[in-house]
Symmetry: C2
DNA sequence: AATTTTCCCGCAAACGATTGCAGTAACTAT
DNA sequence: ATAGTTACTGCAATCGTTTGCGGGAAAATT
């Protein structure tokens, strides 16, 4: 199907001038007589001229576009960060291309390659669940393509990233559960190879240690974030001879499924089992009991990621920076046990 | 920042052959000696050659890319349709660029213009809430740029679209409420200028009429889908001298907020007020009571939208087609009143 | 009046690929 | 040996822009 688009050349011919003049006139460059400038503008308007971005990008060798690669869009956390990334990019005159990996390593590699071939000026990436080696990212570094990681990162990569202190956040949440009187604490985590999951588990352990509470390996289990698997994890906990009285879930998706499982079993939350989760999805408010959750500074994450990237795009040899943002525990009903007087 | 990318030319010079030969060799075209083909492949591998998509697209005048424009990503419905659109596009050898309008008309116009300038091969669009005139879409038609609308469409536009029978769906849901014994039915709708919202209200009215139930204008109110506004709508209903005993909400976002409001007031659902909603968000299962909702064939919508678009891209003068898909009421607790024996 | 400056504008190369056509060498057929 | 194929490869135009440089005409300066 042929789409009839008008080019700079047609305008030039129509006016009997050269393409360079038209180009300059349209972009408001100096050295163009007012009359010709107006004439060009008029004809361009008439023919509804729209510049061919492809050609423009080709000669400029820059697309004013940043590629964003995320595991998926249908999660509150990522879709929200995306909004703030887009916002910040737009303000800097960049547009964004959004790609999903669906947690697959292969797709991640493909999507990144596509973006690079399409000559995006830089990439903002949150790694897929299945990504365990990072050659494709290191290639970007070698090619000096600006990259920023957010949330799902890797310690192996010496690269700019914007993250939160997951250990500290999980520590705080666990501490809160302990202070609300929980003695037998469990943690429902994500995939074993996911750094942020492990960091959160680490924070969980640290808190137990600090408060001299025992750590039972069977109280920590790993899943894939899916509802089915998460509920299974929760049921397994309840089936233990001595079930926990407090649970930290490292993502709201796991948290919501867990709460659902607890309700199905008729477990009283927070009286019998208290719960804290991660991400502070707006749905936390909708549940009964409402769900205590750790808030990530989503707005800032997006903004900082864009800032870091732009600095790389503009500088010649930027050094990798890590920006660590603060989280905040939002206490709601799911963890508000009445503490007994001692 | 200069990114050192290798071009076809460098390979050519290195091997002492012409760029055309290199190009042909890399793409596996015939008429190339095995030795040279291998040599080219080897050097390309060595230098990690990646074709410049911009240049390619420029000469092909096709990007093998489709632009998708949606109101926002942070809603279940859109993010899910996106997944199936991407899936279908990928299978046909197309990649997708995702853009959000944030419900703003201006952004919609901008995003579409950008996509067109970037020479996407076609567009799949779901209109923004604030879009009330369609000159920007008609311009696409005039320029013969393939477009498909889904979900949020307009009757003014003679153009391919994939939608559901909203009137029928709302009719069915209302009928269900009536059959569960509801006598005073309310409907919480979206913005007044949103066609799908009005269609659903129409279906609601039709059902009332069929069953000879009175229609009170104060039982229908319009909002903007936000939690705050939706809860306000719900509270207003309950404050009426004679509150409804059944509510149809035309979106889960409104539905969830409504349920939340009802709970806050201590209203028993479904006993005192029954409720049916739209979209069948997975969260419907998480609520207590779980939320009855109308399921839209999300997978199919994405697939059909891509199909329609591809047909336009490939055909010369395709006639606009409207594909209307079937919905399905998923009955859960929020509408399952016990019907009294009569 | 001659020279310099200013103002406009066009030529042509470049960006990195693709492609129709022509051309050369080797090979086959007569 | 000559003509006709066949198998490769290169030239140059093209896609739609941008941009450095140079040049001509008008205006300003001396």
């Amino acid at each position: 199907m042929k789409t009839n688009t008008t080019t700079i050349k047609e305008i030039a011919i129509l006016l009997g001038i050269s393409t360079s003049t038209v180009s300059r006139a349209l972009r408001g460059l100096p050295d163009i007589k007012h009359e010709t400038r107006n004439a060009v503008a008029r004809v361009a308007e008439e023919l509804d001229y729209q510049p061919n971005q492809l050609a423009k990008n080709l000669v400029k060798n820059s697309t004013k576009t940043i590629g964003v690669v995320v595991p998926g869009l249908n999660f509150y956390f990522f879709s929200s960060v995306l909004i703030s990334i887009e916002e910040a990019a737009l303000q800097a005159g960049y547009s964004v291309i959004i790609c999903q990996t669906h947690e697959s390593y292969l797709r991640e590699v493909n999507q990144i390659e596509n973006l690079v071939n399409s000559r995006v000026d830089g990439l903002i990436i949150s790694l897929a669940r299945d990504t365990t080696h990072y050659e494709h990212i290191e290639k970007l570094i070698r090619k000096k393509i600006p990259v920023v990681l957010f949330d799902r990162h890797s310690e192996e990569l010496n690269i700019s990233k914007v993250i939160v202190d997951n250990i500290k956040a999980a520590f705080g949440a666990t501490e809160h559960l302990i202070q609300r009187g929980c003695k037998r604490l469990a943690c429902l985590a994500g995939p074993l190879n996911l750094l942020i999951s492990n960091e959160r588990v680490q924070g969980f352990k640290d808190a137990l240690e600090k408060y001299n509470l025992p750590f039972y390996p069977e109280y920590v289990s790993h899943g894939d974030f899916s509802k089915e698997h998460s509920m299974l994890q929760a049921f397994n906990l309840m089936n233990l001879p001595n079930p926990p009285d407090g649970i930290l879930t490292i993502s709201d998706r796991i948290g919501f499924a867990t709460l659902h499982a607890l309700k199905q079993r008729g477990v009283k939350v927070p009286e019998e089992i208290a719960m804290v989760s991660f991400n502070n999805d707006p749905f936390c408010n909708y549940f009964t009991p409402s769900v205590s959750s750790i808030n990530q500074p989503i707005q800032e994450m997006g903004k900082e990621a864009v800032n870091l990237l732009l600095r790389q795009i503009e500088n010649e040899n930027p050094i990798p920076e890590t920006i660590m943002l603060k989280t905040q525990l939002v206490v709601r009903e799911s963890s508000m046990r009445k503490v007994e007087e001692n």
